[in-house]
C-alpha cells in the first residue's frame, strides 16, 4: 500500500479575474520509505502539493489518500488528528514555538497525543542526541542558531514516528554546512526509522540526496525520476 496517493488533483486560486492553476491534474503515488524531492521553480506548485498531501489545504478537485485514508473530504478536526498521528512537518522558517525549550518543542506533538511524561522525555532526549543537540535541550529557540533550530524542528517532526515527513524548503535559510548536515540527517532518519520523506526544494544540493526526483512546472508533474 502506498503512503501517499493523489488522483487527478487540482487546486485553483482565483486572483482578481485570473484563475491560477497551482495544481493541474496531478497524479502521484509515493510508497513507504521513499525519499522524494519535489523540485521546480517558484510557483510550480511544490508547496501547494505538500499542503494538499499534509491536509493543510483543500484541493479544488481530485482525491488525496494518506496511509490508506482519503483525506480531501475530512473536516478540520479530523485533518488535525490525521496530521497529529501520521505526518511530521519541517518548515522553511523552522517555526518552533518560542516560549518552549528545545526539548519541550520536540515533546509538543507527543503531549498533544497524550504520551506519558517519562516516555516523552526519553524519546525527545534520545532524538535531540541523535540530531546533535544533547546539551541544548533547555534552550529556547531564540538561543539557538538557524541550523540548530532546524534540527530541533526535524526532531519534532519525527519524534512520534509519523508515516511521513513533509519538508518545505528545509534548507532555504541554512548555510551550506548546516544544509549538508540536515540532509545527512534526513537520509539517516529515512533509513533508520523507515520514514517516508517528501521534500520540496529548488536547491540542487538537496536534490542530489533524493532517490526519487519529481519535477514540477506550472502545477504539473513534468518529470518523475527514480535514481
Amino acid at each position: 500500500m502506498s503512503t501517499v496517493c493523489c488522483i487527478d488533483l487540482c487546486r485553483f486560486f482565483v486572483q482578481g479575474e485570473q484563475t491560477v492553476r497551482a495544481l493541474d491534474h496531478v497524479n502521484l503515488e509515493i510508497d513507504k520509505r521513499e525519499f522524494v524531492c519535489l523540485s521546480g521553480p517558484s510557483g510550480s506548485g511544490k508547496t501547494t502539493l505538500l499542503n494538499a498531501i499534509g491536509g493543510l489545504d483543500k484541493p479544488t478537485s481530485g482525491e488525496v489518500w494518506v496511509a490508506g485514508q482519503r483525506i480531501d473530504g475530512l473536516d478540520k478536526a479530523d485533518l488535525a488528528n490525521m496530521r497529529l498521528h501520521h505526518i511530521g512537518f519541517v518548515f522553511q522558517a523552522y517555526n518552533l514555538i518560542p516560549v518552549l525549550t528545545a526539548r519541550e518543542n520536540v515533546e509538543f506533538v507527543m503531549q498533544v497525543q497524550g504520551v506519558t511524561a517519562s516516555e516523552r522525555r526519553d524519546r525527545s532526549m534520545a532524538l535531540l542526541k541523535e540530531v546533535g543537540l544533547e546539551d541544548m535541550e533547555e534552550r529556547r529557540p531564540a538561543q539557538l542558531s538557524g541550523g540548530q533550530q532546524q534540527r530541533v524542528a526535524v526532531a519534532r517532526a519525527i519524534v512520534s514516528n509519523p508515516a511521513m515527513v513533509l519538508a518545505d524548503e528545509p534548507t532555504a535559510n541554512l548555510d551550506s554546512v548546516s544544509a549538508e548536515h540536515l540532509m545527512g540527517l534526513f537520509v539517516n532518519l529515512n533509513e533508520k526509522h523507515q520514514t517516508t520523506f517528501i521534500i520540496s526544494t529548488h536547491d540542487q544540493r538537496v536534490m542530489s540526496y533524493a532517490r526519487r526526483l519529481i519535477g514540477m512546472v506550472d502545477g504539473r508533474i513534468v518529470t518523475d525520476e527514480i535514481r
Partner: protein, 410 residues
Amino acid sequence: MITNVTLSLAWRNLWRHPRRTWLTVGAMVFSNILLVFLISLQFGMYRVMYENSLRLFTGHLQVQAVGYIDEPRMRLTIPDAAGLAARLRDAMPGNDVAARGLAFALASSADRSYGVQIVGVQPEHEPRVSSLPGLVKRGRFLDNAGMQEAVIGSVLARNLRVDLGHELTLFGTGRDGSFAAGIVHIVGILDSGSAEIDRSFVQISLADFQDIFAMQGHGHSVVLMTSDLFNLKAATAKVEAIIESGESVVHDWNALLPGLKQSVQADMVSAWFMYAVLIVLVAFSVLNTQLMSVLDRTREFGVVMALGLSPARLGRLVLLETAMMAGLGLLLGVAVGSGVVLYFYHYGLTFPGLEAMTAQFNLPGRLYPSASFASLMLGPTVVFLACLAAAIYPAAKLLRMEPVAAMRAV
C-alpha cells in the same frame, strides 16, 4: 480536555508580553478592589438602612391579630399583650420585646385640634425595640407608667401650639365602640426626621392607652428585635410556637414594611448600572488584549494547527489564557480589596459633615462595610465571567483560521 501542555503553553504565553499582561491584570485588579470595597460598603449601608428603618418603629417581627396588617381596626387585638411580651422575653433571651397599642384620635390643645396616631408603649421596654425614645430632643421619654404623660412629634407640637408641660386632650373610639377620652401632659418632644412621625405621633404608656381606649389588657402588636434581621426563620418559628393562637400571627419586617426592600432594590439597580459600566470597560480591555494576542500569534497558531492541534483546542488555549489572567486579577483584587474592607470594617469610614448629619437622625456617624463571602466575591466573580465572555470572540476567530493562510501571516 485541557492538558498539561495547554496549561503550560497558556501560562507561558501570558508572560511573552509581561507589560501587556500586567496592564490587563492591573485593570482587573483595580476594578475588583473597587467592586469589593463598593459592594461591601453598599451592603454595609443597606444593613444600617434596614436596621435603622426597622429600629425606628417597625421592629424585625410583630405579633398581631389576624387581618390587622391589612385592615388595622381597633377591635383586632391581642389579648394580654403585655403578658405575651413578657412570655416572649422569658422564652427568647437575647431578643428585645415590647407590647404596643395603636389608635387614631383627635388631639386638642387650648387653641387647636389635629388628627393623631396614639401609640401606647411600655416605657421600660420600648427603648430596646425602637429608636424613637432616643430622638426626644426636648424633655424626656415616658418613664412612669400610668402617670398620663405623652411624648409628641415636633411638628405636631408646633401645629397644636403646645410645649413641654402643656395638656393635651385625646378623643377617640374605644375598643368596645365607646367614646374614649383622656388628658395627658406633654413630657417630651421628639424630632425623628420623619415627617409622618413628627406630624402625627403621640406616644403614651400602654397602661394609659388601655385605660383611655377601654382595651381591657389587650394590645395591637408585640414587637420583637432579634439578633439577625436576615435570619428570622428560627425566631419566627419560636414565636409561632409560643403564641399558640389561631387569632394571632407573626409577620416579619418584609411583610410589615414592603417598601423598604423595594427601595433598597431600586438603589441596588442604579448601583449595579455603575458597576456594569466598570465591568464592561474591563471586558473591552481584555477583548483588546486577547485580539492583539491572537493577531500577534497568527503564524504560530498556523504552525501548531499544522502539527495537529485542532482549532477548538486552540480556542480553549485562548480562553485558558484569559481565565488565568482573570483568575490572577480575581485573586489579587479580592486579597487587596478584602484588606481594605477589613480595615474599614474595624475602623469605619467617615468624611467631613457625615457625623453631624447622621447625629440628627440618631444614626451612627461612621459607615461600616459588610464583610461577607457575597460582598467580597460577587463583583470579582462577575468580572471574571465578563472577561471570559470577552475572550470568546478572539477564541472563535481561531475556529475559522486556516493553517496555510495563518502560516503566511507576517
